[in-house]
């Protein structure tokens, strides 16, 4: 039997015992417990240390607003820091640790910070740590030295670096009505909307619906409130138009009534069932939203209000009723409103002892007095708690006479012994989602709370969220909201009867008791009432300045309990009303969300692998694959022991000597069809395609509207009105979108259809002096000689029985062909080509060799067409038609774009026999110790087996004018400096004899 657990009562499964550990110590609890309730039941009151002063802290709330009791959960071999103990459902084997303490929770060196006290008040760090202006610690050095210690002291829990082994998933949901909050108001709303024929989703963050009804101890329709809620939930669960989601927090209200929610699917289980996600990210598109998120209690700020044992009154009530746990042997309540009196009764009913009720109000309602007497105590009205005593747990409070109108204390301070103090300064509706939705909160003087903005078209509200604090109002407003969301009028039908609640829900406007000692507003961040006043003194008076200067409300609880008291203190300092001090705009998430859960199915699978039809062959044949956008492409097919460089040199040499084969399936391919296809191509390409005969291909260049080079590729005319355009691998998507934009938006009169056929075709390029011989061996149905298949010609035939289309074009400068087959035949054709090429030692080559061959030939790719270069920069002027306008023609000759001193394409040759380097710069003079002025950079380089030299392409100021001059490659990042010669970028066979031959 746990020391603080009542013998009976509570919504627990007492037949089962659950064993868990906290800081290595083993404890027992029951299903239905949270870690917080179980620790309290075991008499554990010290559970954490605060952020700045490392003060001992205990459980303060019973829910999502918990600022103190943050623990690290150890599960599946990884740490999950900063989880409120109030939110952790107990399960067998649960392991939790306290945090932000060293060496232990009981003895924490960090507590020395408390000695700093006033020295380290709000914003102190802005005023110091700047260090000397001269000497070894000048500049930022002194600060960075101090910062190392500050960073170690700051932070809360410790994360580790092991991969989170969990699975996360997403779910897309659609509904007519989303109800946020499964308390009575939410349940009623869901039922009303469902009965009106709507598809409803109800999300409740707790494991069970019912909310307040679970621990109010009230009677509804003659039944205990918790039973009433359960039965209502059961009825809803039976409807197939309703989806009830428990353990689901709606945390984001986005445009278009899209809401984000996280369902904790398996966190409460010792082990997730196979294939089940730990958490599920719901994106819910709702026709209308009913916000029934309830209200959270606020504390009163007074000196020593952070001692373990101080707790919100509603939390005490909840623990006593729902978990049958008493937070102490002797409890004092301290309040400015009636709700705490219900807590007193709950304590009494659970068998506990209420020592005193301290009420700042001069008098109280009869109903409250009746509750006090039921709790066996005479309220101390017109008094306030002005201090607490005790070390790591509360030992007593000091009480003094208090004038609620002036805030003045008088008379003697009297100590009261107690080990538990329950405080309340009234309730604040949980308006976060409404604020996210865009409305501005307004202040309600009676409730001393911010109410949500007026409901609009997208959402409506119900229950405590709307400031309807009683159970009867929750039922009525819930039903009306549900009907409203369903487009129906409010109902007059009778609601289940609730015992009338005569309590005065309006709190006295008292949020702080000013007395000597540290009084905490933001418990987690250790922001005191004096800090708020210091901010005021220094001019940080707007609510945003207050927040940023003091860090008030920026802790993991996001100020759920500290916002209103903080504002009240600032308002008082400024001599203005609370609403004039303003409220901050709430932003997603409402409460912290596991980052992996939002990544959902993309956690561990960021982007899909895009594979060519020959992918498996490449891998099986030793290719090292490299990512190219989403694609995977062979880099080299290295033989055992070969380096990448050795491999590509071998591959490239084989092409020049005999024949090689490369997978070009990744090139973008677009079918361009229709009577205006040729006209369209004339407009988007810089050169002319309308003159291209059927059965021929042409190299084309596209510019952007601003005249900068965009993409290049060959386009094949397969029929009068039928073209196959190829693009670079990287630009396949952007080119498609570019073309679609022009057809849809600019030239809707053109009759052209575009279809992406990238995936329809497998492409194998074979290149080298023996390329034709390979084709001759395996191609059926067509001749491939120079006459039948001249340069840039296209023929159709078959290889190994599979239909192919062959175009004779060359990227390498060799006699070369691109063989296209249906993608499903790609591997078959590839293997047939390999077999036919066997006698010529056909060599598969990868991206590196492809690059080397194109560099030798001086062909440009994405490294040169980098979004900044013009056609003229790349000496592609010959492709700019003078006979017609084209996309980019109007702006391509602006003064700065035709400046001769732009960086332009050249070739460079290493003169010291050492490699160059992509991204190395070119300088006219200098050294690694004295870097010269950059005149350009190398875009690509390789060892040219043909020239037996390291060569490269470069963009160099002035371009061609520098041919034949000497310069230096300057690559300080790789510590390389050496002489180069600037030459034409056409290194190899500039006349093109080989590819035309």
């Amino acid at each position: 039997m746990s020391p603080r657990r009542a013998a009976t009562g509570g919504l627990l499964d007492r037949t089962r015992t659950v064993r868990f550990t906290f800081d290595g110590q083993t404890y027992d609890g029951h299903p239905g417990d949270t870690l917080a309730s179980a620790l309290l039941a075991n008499g554990v009151t010290l559970v954490g240390r605060s952020f700045k002063y490392h003060r001992p802290r205990g459980v303060f709330t019973a829910g999502i607003d918990e600022p103190n009791a943050l623990v690290t959960v150890l599960k599946e071999g990884v740490r999950e820091p900063n989880i409120p103990a109030t939110r952790i459902e107990l399960h067998d084997g649960l392991r939790a640790e306290s945090q932000n303490r060293f060496p232990s929770l009981d003895y924490d060196f960090g507590a020395l910070n408390q000695l700093g006290g006033r020295l380290i008040g709000a914003g102190f760090y802005y005023k110091t740590f700047m260090g000397p202006v001269i000497g070894p610690l000048k500049g930022t050095r002194f600060w960075m030295l101090c910062e190392r210690f500050i960073r170690r002291a700051a932070g809360l829990g410790r994360a580790d670096y092991g991969k989170d082994p969990s699975r996360y998933e997403r779910m897309n949901a659609f509904c007519d009505v989303l109800v946020v909050g499964g308390g009575l108001a939410g349940l009623m709303a869901a039922e009303a909307a469902a009965k009106a024929g709507k598809r409803v989703i109800l999300a409740e963050q707790e494991p069970a619906v019912g909310g307040f009804a679970r621990w109010s101890g009230e009677t509804i329709g003659g039944k205990p409130a918790s039973v009433f809620a359960e039965q209502l939930a059961e009825r809803l669960a039976g409807l197939d138009t309703v989806r009830l989601l428990s353990r689901t927090t709606v945390w984001g209200y986005y445009d278009g009534n899209t809401l984000a929610a996280t369902e904790r699917v398996c966190d409460h289980l010792a082990k997730a069932p196979k294939g089940n996600p730990r958490q599920r990210h719901w994106t819910i598109r709702a026709g209308k939203v009913v916000l029934a998120a309830g209200a959270l209690e606020r504390p009163i700020v007074f000196p020593g209000n952070d001692r373990p044992g101080v707790m919100l009154a509603g939390a005490v009530r909840r623990y006593a009723t729902e978990h049958a746990v008493l937070p102490g042997d002797r409890t004092v309540l301290f309040t400015n409103n009636d709700s705490a009196y219900e807590a007193a009764v709950a304590i009494r009913r659970a068998g506990g002892h209420v020592t005193a009720i301290v009420d700042v109000r001069p008098s109280i309602s009869e109903a409250a007095a009746a509750l006090a007497s039921e709790a066996g105590v005479v309220p101390l009205t017109g008094q306030a708690v002005v201090g607490t005593s005790g070390g790591k747990r509360l030992a007593g409070v000091t009480v003094q006479r208090f004038d609620a109108a002036t805030g003045a204390l008088s008379g003697d301070a009297r100590p009261i012994e107690c080990d538990s103090l329950a405080v309340s300064s009234g309730w604040q509706p949980v308006i976060h989602l409404a604020s996210q939705a865009g409305g501005k909160a307004h202040w309600d003087e009676a409730l001393q709370a911010f109410l949500p903005p007026q409901p609009g078209r997208s959402w409506t509200g119900a229950g405590a969220f709307m400031g309807r604090m009683t159970t009867a109002e929750a039922l009525a407003s819930g039903r009306d909201a549900g009907l409203d969301a369903a487009g129906k009028k409010p109902s007059r039908a009778k609601l289940p009867e609730v015992a009338p609640q005569p309590l005065d829900i309006a709190p006295a406007p008292v949020f702080e008791i000013k007395a000597k000692g540290k009084a905490f507003v933001d418990l987690q961040h250790d922001v005191t009432a004096d800090d708020v006043r210091l901010a005021h003194r220094e001019g940080f008076v707007s609510v945003e300045h207050l927040k940023r200067y003091t860090t008030l409300g920026m802790a993991t609880d996001q100020g759920k309990s500290s916002n209103v008291p903080g504002l009240a203190i600032m308002a008082e300092a400024r001599g203005i009303a609370i609403p004039e001090a303003g409220t901050t705009r709430f932003r997603p998430p409402f409460s912290p969300v596991a980052i992996g859960s939002i990544a959902a199915e993309r956690y561990g699978d960021l982007r899909p692998d895009r594979l060519t039809p020959m992918h498996d062959w490449h891998v099986e044949n030793g290719a090292a694959m490299t990512p190219a956008g989403l694609w995977h492409r062979p880099l080299v097919y290295a033989a055992p022991g070969e380096t990448v460089e050795q491999a590509y040199i071998r591959e490239a040499a084989a092409v020049r000597r005999s024949v090689g084969i490369v997978d070009v399936s990744t090139l973008g391919k677009i079918a361009v069809k229709g009577p205006d296809a040729a006209e369209f191509l004339d407009r988007v390409y810089t050169n002319t395609f309308s003159t291209l005969p059927v059965g021929k291909a042409r190299y084309g260049l596209m510019l952007r509207e601003d005249g900068i080079a965009f993409d290049d590729g060959t386009t094949w005319r397969l029929g009068e009105n039928d073209f196959l355009m190829t693009t670079t691998t990287a630009n396949a998507g952007p080119v498609m979108q570019h073309l679609e934009y022009f057809l849809d938006v600019i030239w809707p009169d053109l009759r052209v259809h575009l279809t992406s056929v990238t995936d329809a075709w497998a492409g194998a390029a074979i290149a080298g002096p023996n390329a034709r011989k390979v084709l001759e061996k395996c191609v059926a149905g067509t001749a491939v000689d120079n006459e039948a298949l001249p340069f840039m010609g296209i023929v159709e035939g078959a290889i190994g029985g599979a239909p192919v289309m062959i175009c004779r074009l060359s990227f390498s400068g060799e006699l070369a062909y691109e063989v296209y087959s249906g993608a499903g035949h790609g591997l078959h054709v590839w293997e047939a080509l390999m077999e036919a090429g066997e006698e010529f030692a056909i060599t598969p080559y990868g991206m590196e060799a492809l690059g080397a061959l194109r560099i030798e030939k001086g062909h440009v790719t994405g490294a040169e067409i980098d979004g900044r270069t013009t056609a003229r920069d790349l000496y592609l002027d010959w492709m700019l038609s003078k006979k017609k306008p084209f996309v980019g023609s109007a702006l391509m000759d602006r003064p700065a774009l035709i400046d001769q001193n732009r960086i332009r394409l050249v070739g460079v040759v290493s003169l010291d026999g050492r490699p160059l380097g992509g991204g190395a710069h070119i300088v006219e003079k200098g050294s690694l110790d004295d870097l010269g002025q950059s005149i350009g950079h190398i875009t690509a380089f390789c060892y040219s087996p043909e020239l037996s030299k390291y060569i490269g392409l470069a963009l160099v100021r002035g371009g061609k004018a520098r041919h034949g001059t000497r310069a230096f490659v300057s690559d300080p990042l790789r510590k390389r400096f050496g002489p180069v010669e600037i030459v034409s970028h056409h290194f190899f066979d500039p006349e093109g004899r080989r590819m035309h031959g």
Partner: protein, 419 residues
């Protein structure tokens, strides 16, 4: 006003912290000034500071429609760096880093500039070459840059997914050691206090509603707190540039306003030391001194003045951070926010005299505004005071778009959403 120091902290602590004075005055606007700076964000405050400190022009008002620092200075990911590719950018941002290095002393306000380094991860050979090109450009421009191998990265940044089987395996990284992070709000407050101490009037809750004209010339502003005249009016209202220019009758301008979201996790003990960027997508992350992981990604991709982010972008960013640091999946997102960016047509800012007589313009900061704050204020103050640009902002003209002299770091052309 008293200097801030460890000694003043101690003295004040002994007197119960009751003697601290406001960090800046809250004056009512005067009828006229030599210079009005519209916009009390980082750039506007820095401009006012340098007008006073560098040019002796102190009859200056900064007018701010909300609270000081309420714009993007207070809603960014706090990164300071100059790891740029193009010479104009390197010159400007390197100048800025130099100002940052002495800023806390200059302002007598700890802006917490911490040179913890910015590391750009490269994931394939082409990307590595592109980063090396950039690093070499930085070195040739007088800045610092290092290339790190995968092994060096593993030692420097534990927790990164450096496995060969990663979807985008890391092949190396570009490190700028002098880069780092600073405390964003402190920069605004430090400049505000510094300007105020030199006599500049900082006027909050004062919204510009129109411009006063004398013929073509702008001679002041109409505000929610009355007319204020000035010989020169500088606009530093990034995020609202379009709106303010419309008040001056300029209806079309090479800027689009877009939302950029930023994110912070719950506070943790030290997890990552430097700023890291992911090249397999678009993501940057660092850890604040308080312990939160601060990170962001791409724009929301459409025109907006709403400071409201969208969910798909949140999901994209979370996916990328998990790909970079797989253990982050289990940590929790605490807060997100959205800022409105002035996205220019080439991704670079505009700091210039004009476009109307009497007006000076500082805008188009895209993602890069925070790190630029000192250099932007410095060069804008120079431009206003001398009626000609400083060498570092000379390329950032408005006419460059017509001339084709764009400064396009990403190579995406006039597609603002991609810069």
């Amino acid at each position: 006003m008293a200097e801030y120091s460890a000694l003043s902290l101690l003295k004040n602590a002994l007197s119960g912290n009751r003697d601290w004075k406001p960090a800046w005055r809250k004056p009512a606007p005067k009828p006229s000034y030599d210079v009005i700076i519209v916009g009390g964000g980082g750039h506007g405050l820095a401009t006012a500071y340098y007008l006073a400190a560098e040019h002796g022009i102190t009859n200056v008002a900064v007018i701010e429609k909300s609270w000081l620092g309420s714009g993007n200075i207070g809603r960014n990911t706090t990164i300071v760096r100059s790891n740029y590719l193009l010479p104009d950018s390197i010159r400007f941002y390197d100048f800025s880093v130099k100002l940052w290095e002495n800023l806390s002393h200059e302002l007598n306000y700890n802006v917490m500039f911490s040179q913890r380094g910015v590391l750009n991860l490269a994931h394939n050979p082409g990307q590595a070459d592109a980063y090396i090109r950039r690093g070499n450009a930085m070195r040739h421009g007088g800045g610092d840059a290092l290339w790190l191998t995968r092994e060096e990265i593993a030692r420097k940044v534990p927790g990164l997914d450096l496995s060969g089987s990663a979807r985008f395996p890391v092949v190396g990284g570009l490190l700028q050691q002098r880069a780092g992070t600073a405390r964003h709000d402190a920069v605004a407050w430090g400049y505000a206090r510094g300007a105020d101490r030199r006599g500049v009037d900082l006027i909050e809750n004062c919204e510009v509603t129109g411009f006063l004209r004398d013929g073509d010339r702008i001679v002041g502003v109409e505000t929610s707190r009355g007319e204020i005249r000035a010989r020169k009016v500088g606009l530093a209202v990034a995020g609202s540039t379009g709106r303010v220019l419309k008040l001056a009758g300029i209806d079309s301008f090479p800027i689009e306003s877009h939302v950029l979201q930023a994110f912070v996790s719950e506070a943790l003990k030290p997890f990552v030391d430097c700023v890291v960027t992911f090249g397999g997508g678009h993501l940057y992350m660092s850890q604040s001194d308080k312990g939160g992981l601060v990170f962001g990604g791409s724009l929301d991709y459409y025109n907006s003045y709403a400071q409201r982010g969208n969910l798909p972008t949140v999901e994209d960013v979370m996916s990328e951070i998990c790909a970079m640091f797989p253990s982050v999946a289990r940590l929790r997102l605490l807060r997100s926010w959205g800022g409105v960016m002035d996205m220019s047509m080439d991704g670079s800012p505009i700091i210039t005299k004009g476009p109307l007589p009497g007006i000076y313009l500082n805008c188009g900061w895209c993602y890069g505004g925070f790190k630029a704050t000192p250099a932007s204020g410095f060069s804008f103050a120079h431009t206003i005071a001398r009626d000609e640009p400083h060498a570092i902002n000379a390329p950032y003209t408005l006419s460059r778009f017509e001339r084709g002299a764009v400064i396009d770091e990403t190579g995406h052309g006039p597609t603002p959403k991609l810069h």
